[in-house]
Every structure is written in C-alpha cells, then in structure tokens.
C-alpha cells in the first residue's frame, strides 16, 4: 500500500518533468527553424512576419535595455570598495560605478541602473538566464569561464592577484609556514582553484574552510577558525582596513586575476557597446578629461577629442558633422559617461582610495605611466 502511494507521488512528479521534456522537443525544433530564418532577415525592420519579431531579440540586448529604460546589473553587496550596499539599500563601489558608466552610455542616465546582488556561485547562471544584462562583480577572466560558462569577458577594469592574509601574531611569514593550516576561502571562486593548484604543486598540505559569503568568512577569520584568509589582494586590503585585529599580508601573489565586466555570449553588438563604454573612461583619463573639466574640452582644438565627445567637427567642405562610430549609441555617450560618472582615475580614487589601494605605480595605472590600462583609439 505504501509502495503504491510512493509510486503515485513519483508518477506525478516525474510525469510533469517528462511531459515538459517531450513537449519541449517540438517547441525546440520550432524555435530552431525560426532562428535559422532570422539571419536571412538580416536585421531589416518591418519585413519579418509576426513570428520572427519576437525572436530577433536573440541579439537585441541593447534594444531591450533601451526599451526598458534601466540597465540590469549583477554586482556584489559585501565587498567594500568594489560593491557594497549601505543602510539605505543603495549600492556603491568601483564595480557599481562601471554599471553606471554603461547606463550613462546606453541610456544617457547613469542612475538608471538596477543592481542585483549575487553570490559568487550564482553569477554565471544568472547571466546565462538573461536576468541581468551585464555582470560586474569582481569576476576573474579565465578561459574556462569564457568557454564553458558562455560568458564574454570585456576590457579588464582591475588587474588583481591572489594573496594571503594572516593575523599579525600568527607567526606565519611566508607561504612555507602555511603547512597544515586552515585556510578560509569563498566557494565558487577562482581563488579556490588557484589555492588547490598552487599549494598542491608546492606540496603544502592545508585544510580549506569554504564560505559562501564574506559576511561569515570575516568573523570566522577574526575568531581564528582559520589562520589564513586567501582572496584577491585588493579584497584582503579592503577587509583589513575595517578589522579589529592586526593583520599582515604574505609576500606571495599566486595568480593573475584580471577583473572586468562580463556579458552573455551570443550578442556581439551589446558586448561592443559595453566594451567601448568602459574603455571611454580610460581614454578620457589619458586625455586628462574628468567630470570637472569635461565641458572645457567641448571647445577643444583637438579633433580626436571632439569626435570622442560627440561634438561636431568641420569636414573638408566646411560642413560641421557629428562623427558616428556605428556602435548604435548616442554620439555623446562618452560625454555622458565623463560628466555623469567620471574617468577611470576618478572612479578608482573615489572607491578604492579609501580602502588603501593606490593607483600610481600599480598595474592599473595608465600605459603611459608604466601600467596596463591601454585602450584602442576612439576613431
């Protein structure tokens, strides 16, 4: 009798799944047909029949965002300096400001951003689902993420590396002293992979203590559940600034962690828009344009700057024309970004200065100063 009850329960549950799967197959074929049609339409407007109108959105994140009027941005809410939520529920930070940069470029309004806080393990599924348009959440660019996660990594906004933090009185001075220690690390991060790989290769045994959020990891480290905290060096600095105990950072940096904005695969138009919006902040910095002096540059003698800011320039015939780079954005998108949010240097110093990170001399400095921030020309 109980078996038959169980069987019925199983039947109901699994029938649901199977019917969904069976019916879905038909649907699947239908949509594949429709999608193969779509490229033939070539994006031409008005020609498609009713069926394809809905399906042309496969490449239309830009149009979707402009229709909606807000940018859906996936961010962090527990990392001071990069993405943190304050008592009023407002987000701020380096990554969050780059969401604002994209919103300023696409919508002309840097405040038209809705931030969805995500834990590390959720970020790619959320991006894949299309729930967020862009993910800027201290996310490291790796080959397997570009490949297996259907993610498209864009211009690196922050060059980081994985470091180790210990309590100042722990007696640990270098990675060699870490043997058999407990190491706190966030789950679902490249940090954990690096830790396993690097310490594994060095033959240093350790116990990983994994947390989902820094909200729990931080007290666990301070109470001594784990002696070592490993994470991106910038994150360690940002937490150390607000800690009750004295800490020190080990000299070893075990990885390259390029952090930057990510969009889902399959929409090149949107990826280019986001990329150039982000790179505009670096270009502005290179030219010395910031939010305080951007209006002075509107009358600049330099035609490159005028083109960058979307100001009309005189062509050979004496007509003034506005250069159109063909990204599908307002020609004044760079002006909007700089006037509403600021250039790269401003964003960096506003958010990361207070937690003790210096821009000068770091890999994030401009290429002309020996750093890595280099962007292609805005022509």
């Amino acid at each position: 009798m109980h078996n038959s009850k169980l069987l019925k329960l199983l039947a109901v549950l699994l029938a649901f799944v199977m019917i969904a799967a069976a019916c879905g197959d038909d649907d699947d074929e239908g949509s594949t047909d429709a999608e193969t049609e779509t490229p033939d339409e070539g994006g031409s407007d008005g020609e498609g029949d009713d069926d394809t109108v809905e399906l042309t959105q496969s490449g239309g994140t830009l149009a979707k965002v402009q229709d909606a009027g807000t940018l859906q941005c996936g961010g962090n809410d527990t990392l001071p300096g990069f993405g943190i939520v304050d008592a009023d529920g407002a987000f701020s930070g380096f990554d969050i400001d780059f969401c604002a940069v994209v919103a300023a470029a696409v919508l002309g309004d840097s405040t038209a951003v809705e931030v969805t806080p995500l834990v590390a393990a959720q970020r790619f599924p959320t991006l894949q689902s299309g729930e967020i348009d862009i993910l800027i959440r201290n996310t490291t660019w790796t080959a397997s993420r570009d490949g297996a996660e259907q993610a498209n990594f864009l211009h690196t906004t922050f060059y980081d590396g994985q470091g180790f933090m210990v309590a100042a009185d722990s007696g640990i001075a270098s990675l060699d002293d870490v043997a058999d220690a407990s190491i706190c690390v966030l789950t679902g991060t490249t940090t954990l992979l690096n830790l396993n790989a690097v310490l594994g290769d060095l033959g240093i045994p350790f116990t990983a203590v994994e947390f989902e959020s820094n909200d729990e990891l931080n007290p666990a480290f301070q109470a001594g559940q784990c002696e070592v905290w490993t994470s991106d060096a910038s994150q360690l600095a940002s937490f150390a600034a607000n800690m009750d105990i004295e800490t020190s950072i080990l000299p070893e940096i075990i990885s390259k962690e390029p952090l930057g904005p990510v969009v889902a695969d399959g929409d090149t138009e949107w990826a280019q828009v986001v990329n150039w919006a982000v790179m505009a902040t670096v270009q502005a910095w290179e030219w010395g344009i910031d939010s305080t002096n951007v209006d002075d540059f509107l009358t600049s003698e330099d035609s490159n700057i005028l083109r960058f800011l979307g100001e009309p320039i005189e062509d050979d015939d004496g007509n003034s024309v506005v250069a159109e780079v063909g990204l599908g954005l307002d020609p004044k998108f760079a002006y909007n970004i700089i006037s509403q949010v600021g250039n790269y240097q401003e964003i960096f110093e506003k958010n990361l200065g207070p937690i003790g990170l210096a821009l000068e001399g770091s890999p994030n400095d401009l290429w002309t100063n020996g750093g890595l921030q280099y962007v292609p020309p805005f022509r």
């Binding site: 799944v17 199977m18 069976a22 699947d28 959720q122 203590v209 990891l217 001594g224």
Partner: protein, 428 residues
C-alpha cells in the same frame, strides 16, 4: 553513483509516463466499451452528463494544461540555451572537480561525480546523527511542557516558542557564530578537558576512539558472536514474557550478555583494542589519534537538532494530549509510577498519533541541512554551489541537486512509512 542514480530516475520517469498514459488510455478504452454496451440497452445518460466521461475529460484537460505549462517553460529554457550555446550534456561528471573537503580523502583531481558523492555522504552524516537526537530531545521537551513542575514547564515552553518561531538559517548562524565560533577557543589555545582526552576548539573537536591492536580480527569475531548471543537472549526473554508474563527486561539481558562476552574476549585475547588519545601539535594544526569532528558540522547538526526538536516537541505534546484521559486514569489505578505511566501507557499510544507528522519533520530536517552552505560545511548543496563557480554547468547540476534531495526524501519517507505501518494497531 551519481550516474547510476540519474539513470535510475530517468528509467523511473519514463516508466511513470508510460504508466500514467497507459492508465488513461485503458480507462478511455473501458469507457468506450461500456458506452457501446450501454448504447445497446439505451439506458446511458448523454455524453456531457456521464460522470465517467467528465472525469476522463478533466484528466485529459489537466494533462494538456500541465504539458502546455511545461512545454512553455522548457521552450523558454532551450531557446535561451541555444542562444548562448549552453552545453546540456552530462560529460562534465567525469572531469576533475577541483574540490577538497576538510578531513576527507577527496583530492582536487577527483571527478565531479566523486565530489558530489562525498558531499552527499556528508549530508547523510548530518541526518544520521541529527534525526535520532532531535526525536529524543523533542520528546523530552514535549513531555516537559506537560509537566506539573512549573519551572520545567515554562522553560520548555520558552525553548519551543523561541526556537520554533525563528527561521532555521538564523538559528544556524546564531549557534555557529555565538556558541561555537566565539564560544570555543582557537586551536592554539584549545580546551582539553578530562585529562586531555578531549580537544575542543573553534575549528575542530577531537574525541578518543578505539584502536585495534594485535588479535583485533579475532576480537571482531567475538563481538559478532556477542551480538548474536544478545539477540538470542533477547528472543528467549520475549518468549518467557509471552508465556509467563514475567517482565522480560530484554534490553538489560541482551546488553549484559554482550558486555560479558566482549569483556571475556578482551581479557582472553590480551587487550585487542586500546583507547586512542587525540593529540594536537603546538601550532594547533596537526591532529593524531582519536576521531575528529569539523566545527561547522557540529554547529550545523546542533542547530538543526534544536530547531527540529522544537517542532517535534509540539507534535509530541499534541499527541500526548490526544491520548484519552481514561488511559492515564487506568494506569494510575494500576499503581504505575509516573515514568512507567509514560513509558508503557501514554507514549506508545501517543507515538501512533505523532509518527505521521514526525516523518514530515524528518524530511524538513534533511532539506534544512542544505543551509550548511552559510557556515562552510561541505555537504551536497555546498559542493554543488562550489562547482557552479568552477565552470561546471549549472542547469545539470541543479537537476542533480534536486534529484538527490528527492531521492533522499523518498527514502526517508519510505523508512518512516514502514515504521508507521508497524506502529499502527492491526485492524481488521
């Protein structure tokens, strides 16, 4: 194991669909046959007023509706998957998982399937310790809530109301943070009570354990013999009780037999087992001897025991109140003591009422164990979540996660139902 489970469930799914559709077709076939027969006698109501036709029509409508909703959702999913080129195969299970678990032999080069399996065993470890403990604590608190002792009664009420009305995640984080993390010293200053036979710190707990010496194999045989003898003695006492009515005391008799045989064997074999004392080095890192327990495991299990026992206490209290007053009066008339009254009259009857809702609590317990993710204990959900971040595909992993908990719940409720059917009065 994971692959086998997936296949099993896939076969079950196909089987059930065939069963459901076949059942419906059979009903339709029978209905048609019946109406044909009826048409000859000309005594059937018209189609739209025939209860059976309406019934089958409703079933078909429900199936179609479910199918439509399902196909919409599935289509939505596959459209998006096609759009971004998501790989929906299960090949990733054989890739290296890159996961390590504290105090577990799992290495970073072991496969994803092995990592998930290790996590699932950790879930089972929480359940094996937690559910029996929660039942015992819940029963004690439930009985205490009905006690005549004012202080005990109010304490029990306070415990139940406080814990039961708090979300389980809050209880877990509170217990982890306040009781275990801040309550125990760090490893370097570990607390070692009882002549250093126990080690407590906010990273691990270590306990003494038994360690096999020479003749350990022979001793294992002796223990097995002891167990068999104890079972035999228990059976004999039951027979005596059934035949003569003398109190059987089979547990005492059985235990006595087991202990005396083991003791004899221990002496005869010259100490085949010894206590292993846990040791911790100066730096508070390397343990030798004894058995270790992860602090997050202890915190999670303790918190879940508290949370679940507060619910069980209410079920037990309600069930005790459901036992007819005449039973208590009869027990008093037989001059049973307070303990005997509960043990032999009230609780056996109350358990009959309590057990079905208890099964529910067992299921809740197993599902709440997934909250371990917050405090860093590597059980199923935590491992799967970790894999998300290591470029393993989320849709398939989520499916596996759901199926694992489904399988766990089905097994738990199967066990519960078997026990329940044995508890019930055999009716005619």
């Amino acid at each position: 194991m994971i692959t086998a489970l997936l296949w099993l469930l896939a076969i079950a799914a196909v089987g059930t669909v065939i069963y459901v559709v076949g059942r419906l077709l059979w009903d339709i076939f029978q209905l048609i046959a019946e109406r044909r027969r009826g048409a000859e006698d000309a005594e059937l109501p018209p189609l739209w007023r025939d209860v059976k036709v309406i019934g089958i029509g409703a079933q078909i409508a429900a199936l179609v509706l479910i199918g439509l909703i399902g196909s919409y959702l599935w289509g939505n999913f596959t459209d998006r998957a096609d759009q971004i080129g998501l790989d929906l195969s299960f090949d990733f299970l054989d890739q290296p998982g890159g996961i390590t678990i504290a105090d577990n032999p799992l290495s970073a080069n072991d496969t994803v399937a092995e990592a998930i399996t290790a996590g699932f065993f950790n879930t089972i470890r929480i359940i094996l310790l937690g559910i029996p403990a929660a039942v015992i604590l819940g029963t004690l608190v439930g009985v205490a809530r009905l006690s005549n002792n004012w202080v005990l009664r109010k304490l029990a009420t306070g415990f139940v109301e406080f814990i039961r009305n708090t979300p389980p995640l809050v209880v877990i984080i509170f217990v982890w943070r306040v009781v275990f993390l801040e309550g125990f010293p760090r490893a370097q200053e570990a607390w070692k009570p009882l002549g250093e036979w126990f080690i407590f710190n906010n990273s691990r707990f270590a306990f003494p354990s038994l360690e096999g010496q020479d003749n350990f194999g022979a001793f294992q045989v002796v223990v097995l013999v002891g167990l068999a003898a104890a079972a035999g003695v228990g059976y004999w006492r039951t027979q005596v009780f059934n035949n003569t009515g003398t109190p059987h005391r089979r547990v005492l008799w059985g235990l006595g037999t087991l202990v005396s045989i083991c003791l004899l064997g221990y002496i005869a074999l010259g100490g085949p087992v010894a206590m292993s004392k846990p040791m911790l080095d100066e730096a508070g890192r390397v343990y030798t001897g004894g058995v270790r327990m992860q602090m997050p495991y202890a915190a999670l299990t303790f918190a879940l025991i508290l949370y679940t026992s507060s619910h069980i206490a209410e079920i037990v209290r309600g069930s005790i109140l459901a036992v007819h007053k005449g039973q208590v009066e009869a027990a008093n008339a037989l001059a049973l003591s307070g303990f005997q009254r509960y043990r032999f009259v009230v609780l056996p009857q109350a358990m009959r009422v309590a057990f079905p809702p208890l099964i529910n609590q067992f299921l809740n317990f197993s599902k709440n164990s997934s909250l371990a993710i917050a405090i860093g204990f590597a059980e199923t959900t935590s491992i799967i979540n970790n894999l998300f971040g290591q470029s393993q595909p989320a849709p398939q992993l989520l499916l596996i996660l759901m199926l694992l908990y489904l399988a766990l719940s089905l097994v738990l409720s199967l066990i519960g139902n078997v026990i329940n059917s044995r508890l019930q009065i055999v009716g005619r």
